[in-house]
């Protein structure tokens, strides 16, 4: 079931089309990776989802209903350009953000205490934001984003500026939120994170959505029939028509088999009497798909 449907949404700034007829849907409980080079229009799309901007044309359905301002209380947004009031104390700041998201004063206070405990940062409670390190204030910012238990979470580069330990904590929190059934939009340039985290992706370039779908499905769609084969004994050469050797070492080969299924290739290899210890198809990484698609759409 799609939690967020974006239908033919366009947004112009003057003559510049930041978003041009974008349609995509994001399933409930999934992590959606929103990708694209700088200036592609990701921020504009996110700003329309968060109701900071309104689309010129097209509609956005939030949980099946036309998007409205009341929905912003069910969205948590951590922008890439983030910040907090420097002279406010951690506790006061989180309570304030929670109240702006519609929580009652009491709920806001309870939740703040809970989250400070959960991330083990109760000792920062009365520290001013300006006293915190960058990583520390990132954590506070993350709490500020999720404190009202939003059903839709939008994280723009959530790991930037975090050390490995804190990255892992945030990573765990993201997965925990997903397990709770929250829908998450994840925007990043770091493709290895997309491979690890995202269920679905959407790729935007120059205001257009050029690719959209399930990560596994996209990988197999863009696979180039490249296989890594390991042999249990040293193998010199294999000359099979239609199969190119891309890489070769003593008992390891990377093969490119055009227009042949996995089974066909495997059978051909076995027919040669080769001792195969492992056979694996190499799927393209999201990064490869990203670069390929951006380049082809740019040159088109």
């Amino acid at each position: 079931m799609s939690f967020l449907s974006i239908e033919h949404v366009s947004k112009k700034f003057g003559d510049y089309k930041a978003n041009d007829d974008i349609s995509l849907s994001i399933q409930k409980g999934k992590i959606f990776g929103l990708l694209g080079p700088n200036g592609a229009g990701k921020t504009t799309l996110i700003r329309m989802i968060t109701r900071i901007l309104l689309p010129d044309t097209g509609t956005i359905l939030f949980d099946g209903k036309p998007h409205n301002d009341k929905h912003t209380e069910r969205i948590g947004y951590m922008p890439e350009e983030r910040g907090l009031y420097k002279n406010m104390k951690v506790y006061d700041h989180l309570v304030y953000l929670a109240k702006l998201k519609g929580l009652s004063a009491n709920d806001a206070k309870t939740k703040t205490v809970q989250w400070l405990q959960r991330l083990a940062i109760e000792s920062w409670r009365d520290k001013k934001i300006e006293e915190l390190s960058k990583g520390m204030s990132q954590k506070v910012q993350f709490i500020g984003t999720v404190i009202h238990e939003p059903e839709l979470l939008i994280l723009d580069e959530p790991f930037s500026g975090l050390d490995p330990i804190n990255s892992q904590i945030i990573d765990e929190e993201i997965h925990r939120l997903k397990a709770e059934g929250k829908t998450i939009i994840f925007s990043t340039h770091r493709m290895e994170q997309v491979d690890q985290i995202c269920d679905e992706i959407g790729l935007i370039n120059k205001g257009h959505l050029i690719l959209h779908g399930d990560v596994m499905e996209l990988k197999s769609r863009f696979k180039q029939s490249i296989f890594e084969v390991k042999f249990s004994e040293s193998t010199e050469n294999i000359a099979i028509s239609g199969i190119a050797v891309v890489e070769q070492s003593a008992n390891h080969m990377v093969l490119k088999a055009n227009e042949k299924s996995n089974a066909e290739l495997l059978r051909l290899l076995l027919d040669r009497g080769l001792q195969i210890s492992s056979f694996q198809e190499i799927l393209p990484t999201v990064q490869q798909i990203f670069i390929q698609q951006v380049n082809s759409s740019t040159h088109a």
Partner: protein
Amino acid sequence: MRKIGYIIWREYSSRVKTKSFLFTTLLAPLLFLGLPIVTVLLTKSGSDSIKQIAIEDKSGLFKDIPFADKEDGSLYFKKTINENNSDAAFETASYDGLVLIPADFDLKNSGRTPITFISRKRAGIGVRNYIDKAINKAVLKLRFQHFAQSNVSDVDFEKEVTINYERFESGDDKSAFVNLASVIGYLTGMLIYITITIYGTMILRGVMEEKTNRVMEVLISSVKPFQLMFGKIIGVGAVGLTQFSVWIALLFIGNLFLAPLLFLIGVDANGISGAPSGMNSPVDQSEIQGMVMSLKDIHFGWIGIGVLVYFLLGFFLYGTMFAAVGAVGNDETNAQSLTLPIMLPIIIAFMMMITALNDPEGNVAFWGSIIPFTSPVIMPALLAYQPPLWQIGLSLFLLILTFVLITYFAGKIYRIGVLMYGKKISFKEIFHWLIQ
């Protein structure tokens, strides 16, 4: 609406809790002690509503004594030839004021036979001081002519002449009233000028802080930019109001203690110094008594309400403009150049106020109290002079209208400006946003 309340409270409490707030709130009143200096400034500047002054000398004593015109020609005297009824002469002639010297004028002591100054418009203290000086100089000359040769020992050559100021229609025009009104006018105008400048800048900094801190985007994904803008303006306005009311309270307390205190000082100075110049002390004392008396003539309640209304409207008018500039500015220097078009009218208003107080029924006072960008400073200053109701009404109407228009445009600039990071925004672009 609940959220705008949270915003207001954050903006308010985060400022009121600072030490600098306490500091300025309690120290600023000391500034007001600099008033005497300002009074001197006030009297120096000219007036444009009283220029030609006729002198009707019924005593005939001043036939050969010239009255000194003002060097810049802004005020000059002319002796009338006919000795008709003064009122009729005044009505037909194009004089702005009339100095009436009674037939039985007593050169030695004018206390029982005062000289009267009648004018159509109320004379400000600048005009009064000049007329006082001119008449006293003439009298001094006359005293030398009359008494220098004759060995009269009981003549005090420098004894000040008693001059009564009257208005042609309404009669008695208390000089102490004008003094007090100008003091009160100056104080209120000054207060409004200071608070708009200080708190306008505070709004500007606040908006810029949110923008450069990048907290803005988090905020506007929770609340509407308009709520954020007005939350801040109201919050900062409440800070100003808090400070304002502390100041006014101090002013009231000051008034309560000041009046008797001034009286005491007057008496004391008389006794201790032994009247050094021979002309100041007795007059001063009566002037202070007059001041104390005329405290009753000033409608503090109405002035208070008027000041409050103009403060709020003026603050919101300028506050929204400051917020818009803050949203457009990216750094301090950039913002400063953008602030200029806002600061200019406030500074002009303040300078106009000084002229207006000097001449409360002149052109500067009138137009300054009508034009929306200057009226929040000038009208409150004039309230003690009781300007006509239609003038207040027109001024309020124009001010509210301007406020609504400015809010519409400033809101637009704010909404777009807060999303523009790291980019210098030109006036041309802002203009584009406005017409979009």
